[in-house]
């Protein structure tokens, strides 16, 4: 197998393994729009990084974390309904990102790569970044799993039982931001949340505990990545959209399967 394909597969699978369980929280907490906003906003970070020739991977991670902090702060103040707020931020940051990119002199920047991902150009350095961030996310998620679950089921019960609810939520958001930052390479800004949500949703019907759903989502994500890459390899389709399309087919199969527990 060609190197680029191995890199792509390893990168994709590491991300899918974390995105599955983390995506369950995104589904349970109804945060899909939150994830979208974060992804769109990070494009602004990318644009500035290109403009000032900064290191791209770091710039993406930093801008994701900064916007995550900003969203958390705005959400807490509740000046506007959350979905309105997210809508404003998602689209204006996307617009500003594109504007800033257009100022860049070196317009060899491949915009579609950022919007829809470019998994097949993953380099060895990219791969190291991706794997390290994924391991970090996975370990944190594993250690805090029960606590994240408790604050998701009932915030106040969790608080009375002694959990630092706000800080745990912030940590969860940081994990989501980190994953989005590294997954951008795979499926791009516009398709990123699908990697969090579709595998989790596909696993829902087949599971009766949160842990089963997390495991199922991880497996579904891996299947989607390998399926999408195969498709891309043989039929020369763009990798990102192929992965998302495969995930959707998996979701359909899970839902149309008769007799699964709804």
């Amino acid at each position: 197998m060609a190197d680029f394909l191995v890199y792509a597969l390893v990168a994709g699978i590491s991300i899918a393994l974390v995105a599955g369980p983390l995506g369950c929280f995104v589904v349970w907490r109804r945060m899909s729009y939150f994830g979208d906003t974060l992804a769109h906003a990070s494009l602004l970070g990318v644009a500035f990084a290109i403009l000032f020739s900064a290191q791209l991977q770091i710039a993406i991670i930093v801008s994701c974390l900064v916007f995550a902090a900003l969203l958390l702060a705005l959400e807490r103040r509740q000046a506007l309904a959350t979905d309105t707020l997210l809508g404003i931020i998602a689209h204006s940051t996307l617009a500003f990102g594109l504007l800033v990119l257009s100022f860049s002199d070196r317009v060899q920047v491949n915009l579609t790569a950022f919007l829809f991902g470019d998994l097949l150009t993953v380099t060895q350095t990219d791969l190291i970044w991706i794997v390290c961030c994924c391991v970090l996310c996975a370990v944190t998620l594993f250690c805090f799993w029960d606590k994240f679950l408790a604050i998701t089921v009932h915030k106040e019960l969790a608080s009375i039982e002694g959990l630092p609810v706000d800080r745990l939520y912030a940590l969860l958001v940081v994990l989501i931001a980190l994953l989005i930052a590294v997954a951008m390479k795979i499926v791009g800004v516009l398709l990123i949340t699908s990697l969090l949500i579709i595998p989790a949703a596909a696993a829902r019907r087949l599971s009766s505990t949160p842990e089963q759903m997390a495991l199922g989502a991880a497996i579904a994500g891996c299947l989607a990545v390998s399926g999408g890459l195969t498709m891309s390899y043989f039929w020369d389709t763009p990798a990102g959209p192929s992965i998302v399309a495969t995930a959707f087919v998996l979701f359909l199969i899970a839902y149309l399967r008769p007799g699964a527990n709804a």
Binding site: R30, V153, H154, L157, E161, S207
Partner: protein, 261 residues
């Protein structure tokens, strides 16, 4: 602080968004005492509960809790996303309950058969009992119940209140309860606080229901309904065993009056 005292609040005041929600509220709760909080909608009952739980810091006054107090809280309702697969067993384990205890907890609230049921599919009454079990899972010194019988039918309400009473008798924990069903909880309540941003009146249930402030708030009609219920209760002692035997035994046990064979 008195060793029997679980909670002592003096001069509590809470402002939310520029509105005074609570004003000069004093509250004391002792071991094994059942205190019922009543009041119209928007009277600040839930706010007061949240202050006692430590979820809100009071703007005025002070709140002291007994050292190392464990509080079991039963929220008004719990909505679990249908996308979240969660069994009753798993839900109870979240309260750091050991695995073997989950069964006995469910036995105590008489829903052992629901162990592997999905939480999102429970009926209102079943859910309330699961929540009660979770509150008990912490082996609490104080149980805080916010309208425990909400969304439960009348028969279920009677049973639920009797269950709460028998739990109090067995565990010796204090109970702070928000309830609209004063006629149902009167017999077991030690003290009633009638709240409408401030404390309108408080005392034994019989005193409160005759208090002019209470009558002014709830009106004659409600007061008369209560009188009817009280009357009903006085007579029900004779025939109680014939109607509901299980609950009857619990009731008598806790009063220590007499036992049926």
């Amino acid at each position: 602080m008195n060793t029997d005292l679980l909670i002592k609040a003096t001069g509590l005041g809470v402002n939310l968004g520029g509105r005074q929600i609570l004003h000069q509220v004093d509250l004391e709760l002792r071991k094994s005492q059942l205190l019922t909080l009543i009041g119209p909608n928007g009277a600040g009952k839930t706010t007061l509960v949240r202050v006692v739980l430590g979820l809100i810091k009071p703007d005025q006054g002070s709140l002291s809790r007994a050292d190392g107090i464990r509080i079991g809280y039963m929220p008004q309702k719990l909505f679990v996303e249908p996308t979240l697969p969660l069994t009753v067993r798993r839900f109870l384990q979240m309260a750091a309950v050991s695995k073997s205890d989950v069964g006995s907890l469910l036995d105590e609230v008489r829903i052992a058969h629901l162990l592997d049921q999905q939480v999102s599919r429970l009926s209102g009454g079943e859910m309330q009992r699961v929540l009660l079990a979770r509150a008990l899972g912490r082996d609490p010194h104080l149980l805080v119940l916010d309208e425990p019988a909400q969304g439960v039918d009348v028969n279920g309400q009677v049973e639920l209140y009797e269950l709460i009473n028998s739990i109090r008798a067995r565990h010796g924990c204090g109970v702070l309860m928000v309830s609209h069903d004063l006629h149902l909880v009167m017999a077991s309540t030690d003290e009633v606080i009638c709240l409408n941003k401030h404390i309108c009146c408080h005392g034994k249930p019989e005193q409160v229901t005759n208090d002019p402030a209470y009558l002014a708030m709830f009106g004659r009609r409600e007061a008369q309904t209560l009188a009817v219920y009280t009357h009903h209760h006085n007579h029900s002692h004779d025939i109680k065993g014939a109607i509901v035997n299980e609950s009857c035994c619990d009731d008598h046990d806790s009063n220590g009056a007499h036992k049926h064979g």
